[in-house]
Symmetry: C2
Subunit: 355 residues, 2 copies
């Protein structure tokens, strides 16, 4: 849909003009994709304050570019950013959070009479609120994720290793249509569940283990992100206590995720419950993050974060309690903030599954 | 082996002193791994000109760091580069090819009386010549790659899609012990073989197709890279002609890959044969590249490249001929430059396989 991408470029052009720049040089590849539809490992985009734009990419992607964004002039050149910067005049805003110092210095040396300035995260700002087409792609990514969880559930039994479960989750997502996993899957069993970012290893699942799975599908560039913790065999009092606590905190976080709510208040809605139960020290990370073309996007939600939620912003809500040496529980959904209440995109049950 | 990493840091310290700097701030994660053994998605290393060093990484990797590099002081901190820069005095050399402008400006604003300078690619320079331990890891990565090719060969038959073959190659490598694929596998059949970096798609293999597979295993951080082209059913005269040409060029390139040879002469050894046969315009890329902790490292080999080979430098030799609209052939080995002749690490036959 070239007109969707053109509309995005027009919105960016207005921000560029507002910054007093003549053009933006977009080099962050995800941002180039957002503004053109082209997924490339080597591309850049020049967007002028008048809304016109030029794309550059190398020969590998020239055919795709002609198909995906036929409305855009495309320069076929390996040094994509350099060739576009050479066309700039006046004040050129570039992505200082993406460009290396070496690249910027090389560009500056080639330019004559062009002043470089930072674009800041203008494109990321545009990307925060999604359109319904994007939300549809996220919905499909999350549906694949739900289906993979269902399919792999029977494999979670004593003797299977974390790594085996992780590989099976990832292969199942691809078999169900995912481009690839959205990030390296986490499978953490027993005491490993106390490590929020545990790398799945050779530990075999044992009866009585809590098993946390944090994974998601990538679909057309959009990332799903879901976590469920299940218990193998039977849940003891301790496991059920922290499970119920995390589930209640997750519900509170989802309910608090409404337009105009400060992100730190969404975090607090979940965190207050966990702190009141005496587990505040066992929840060492933020409540969640925006998700879309990147797995971690604005807004970040934590007690120390600023900003507020808006309509049509997809986020994760993922509180956890991690008890060192024993295990942990994390429950995470991907959802969309809506005026009439959050739309859950991941729909797998949050009842404690005893398997 | 902490002493191997310490020896590497001592060599870096000598380069730092030679640059007139007081310390190097290493932020490129592969370089941090090379100098410490720690594989982390968030880490930095300060190496002083006197050879002492401090590592920083976040809480997720603190336990691994204590196990992998117990000899190193490790600061547990999310802002790894910032916390190390704050300990620097005098002239601090940082990796300008890795650090973003935003990050550098933030660092510069926090530092008081410390002068920032570029370290250039000093660590990459150290990494170019491998020790026998590294070569052993590459050898294993290549052995997994060879075995995966053998295992998947029976699946290459009419009706199977490129994407199915690519997924089977990748899964087989993981089943054989690979950490993961070293890069996104290429499977290009029939006319798609004319696209050097074709993304495997829904095209089903047909009888008479040339099928090019470019793939490799990642093992303990080291990357294998191999390409083979096979023919399905029977090879016509055209296919056999370019196959024999590329195979002869590949042999010539391997034979030319000796210590002290200029990289452009290695490229020429292969390219001259292809040009003499009238296919110069159908070989649009360089002959190969160094390989190790990254899939593409120094030295690059092309007609326009400078530098020379050295003993114990692993490289790829990968000429190809791509005939637009019809198909292509590429043959690639990973090998190690040795004084007594190249050591092939990928050992799959280069006879034309008719399957």
């Amino acid at each position: 849909m070239p007109e969707i991408h053109e509309a995005r470029r027009v919105r960016l052009a207005a921000l560029v003009a507002g910054q007093g720049a003549d053009a933006a040089l977009v080099t962050h590849l995800v941002n180039v994709r957002y503004l053109t539809g082209l997924a490339s490992s080597n591309a850049a985009l020049l967007v002028r304050a008048d809304g016109t734009a030029v794309l550059a990419t190398d020969g590998r992607y020239a055919g795709t570019a002609a198909r995906v964004c036929p409305d855009l002039e495309c320069v076929v050149e390996r040094e994509a950013a350099g060739v576009l910067a050479a066309r700039a005049v006046g004040r050129l805003a570039y992505e200082a959070h993406d460009m290396t110092v070496e690249r910027r210095d090389a560009l500056a040396g080639e330019l004559d009479g062009v002043e470089l300035a930072s674009l800041d995260r203008a494109v990321e700002e545009l990307r925060t609120v999604k359109d319904e087409g994007e939300i549809g792609l996220l919905r499909e990514a999350c549906a694949i994720t739900d289906r993979a969880f269902d399919a792999v559930l029977p494999s979670i039994r004593p003797g299977r290793t974390e790594r085996e479960i992780a590989i099976e989750l990832e292969r199942t997502m691809v078999d169900l249509g995912a481009e690839r996993p959205a990030f390296a899957s986490i499978v953490a069993s027993g005491p490993n569940g106390a490590i929020p970012h545990h790398v799945p290893g050779a530990r075999a699942i044992e009866s009585g283990d809590l098993v946390t799975m944090d994974f998601g599908a990538l679909h057309e560039g959009y990332h799903a992100d879901m976590t469920r913790t299940v218990v193998v065999g039977a849940a003891g009092g301790w496991e059920r206590e922290i499970y119920d606590l995390v589930a209640a905190a997750q519900r509170a976080g989802v309910e608090a995720a409404t337009p105009e709510t400060a992100t730190k208040n969404v975090d607090a809605a979940a965190r207050d419950l966990i702190e009141a139960a005496g587990y505040g020290g066992e929840f060492p990370h933020g409540l969640g993050h925006g998700v879309g073309l990147e797995i971690h996007e604005a807004p970040l939600m934590g007690y120390d974060k600023t900003g507020k939620l808006m309509d049509r912003v997809p986020i994760t809500v993922e509180p956890g309690v991690y008890v060192a040496g024993r295990g942990g529980v994390r429950i995470e959904d991907t959802l969309v903030v809506r005026a009439d209440g959050a739309e859950l995109l991941t729909k797998t049950t949050k009842e404690l599954l005893v398997i």
